[in-house]
Amino acid sequence: MAIDTDTARRVAHLARIRVEEERLPALAREFDAILGFIEQLNEVDVEGVEPMTSVTPMRLKRRQDVVTDGNQQDKVLLNAPDAREGFFAVPKVVE
């Protein structure tokens, strides 16, 4: 499978990343390399191999579905460039 310049342009557009026209071929080659890696992993026979949570035998922890934290509005907004009435404020992006 080869990624052409058009596909790279389309992916960049979908990701809302500006890529100059002359850089598209290089980007396409990088996409290709990543797909090549995935292709290579397809060779590995994983039939009958249990999925692992971690490298040591363990199950993913579960916890009670209860509130353990909260009432920290000030702290949450502490690093907001702009905050109003307890909310994050951002520039208008929808007309």
Binding site: I17, L27, A33, G36, T56, R63
Partner: protein, 406 residues
Amino acid sequence: MTDLTKLTVAEARDGLRAKTFTAPELAEAYLAAIDQADALNAYVHKTPEIARSQAGFAQTRLNAGMSPDLCGIPLGIKDLFCTEGVPSQAASRILAGFKPPYESTVTTQLHKQGAVMLGKLNMDEFAMGSSNETSCYGNAVNPWRRGNDGAALTPGGSSGGSAAAVAADLCAAATGTDTGGSIRQPAAFVGITGIKPTYGRVSRWGIIAFASSLDQAGPMTKDVRDAAIMLRAMSGHDPKDSTSADIPVPDFEAMLTGDIRGKVIGIPREYRMDGMPEEIEALWAKGREMLQDAGAEIRDISLPHTKYALPCYYVIAPPRRPPTSPATTASASATVPSSPKATASPTCTRRPAPRASAPRSSAASWSGPTSSRPASTTPITTAPARSAPSSSATSSWPSRTASTPS
């Protein structure tokens, strides 16, 4: 009195407990050393007030006879760790001005033990890099020099500031993080000990993520004993990180018996690569010999999936430099065009980048496992800093070198 900054964590711990010196004295020694070593650009946010207050508190605990291992021990913290009220920006302009209102689990555990935070350490931006040359603070510089050549060398990365700080005695030990070599490679470049713990051993909570399935924090220290002490303090299950392992944390230091008789050590043949330089081959042979001499049984083994490690890495971690394309990713430079406005940020520009060193020069800076801890007394503030020790230091290898080769 001996130079306090030259002590290992274990030596400093014992000195503090024996009241040979105090925690504030130890902290002041490091703070003075840090201020004279700006040329290394290891510290990017110094926290002397925090250090002094923590050292004072640690001393009251020491006086009361309550002293965990790290009580009063001055540490450097990689900028990737969120530290309450202290800039934590992963060496990126994107996070300029960010002061977390919370503390990472690792640093919380260290502080509970009484550790003293000297400041935040340089790194590659968002931990993506292997030479500490992608930092918004400018390059971190290796305290070592290549013979009489004054050229600045890279300390490796992404934990380059941590590596430089430990090697130059600017902290007793440092925290690092490792996704694809970011502790082990810089530790090797500066001749210190670094460990990437098993995934899950250390909580990732409060550490800015790179690739969540691979990231682990670990110690960067002057020797193996210190790494054991630090690792024990950093490890443990954390309800805030569901991938952290709920397994008891052993006393790693107590396990350092020095006795490996009868242990079986496998050497995977896949780890030996074609075209390996002769000096590396020689070091491999030597390492094998040393283990054998110490009574271990060496077995040649095969790990046939080794060749899939790199493809896995490039799928799980955002590709930094796919082997087929030496250029850095086009997307990264496209998303973050450097605007003059952004570069005006004072938190990023106040430290002019030292002269960039050629990335390839790094290999030469590491004189192999013969590098014991830099021992020269030459001040590191001036250009011809430390020269690599001669090969006569070879005998110190077992106690002073990285415990995680390749």
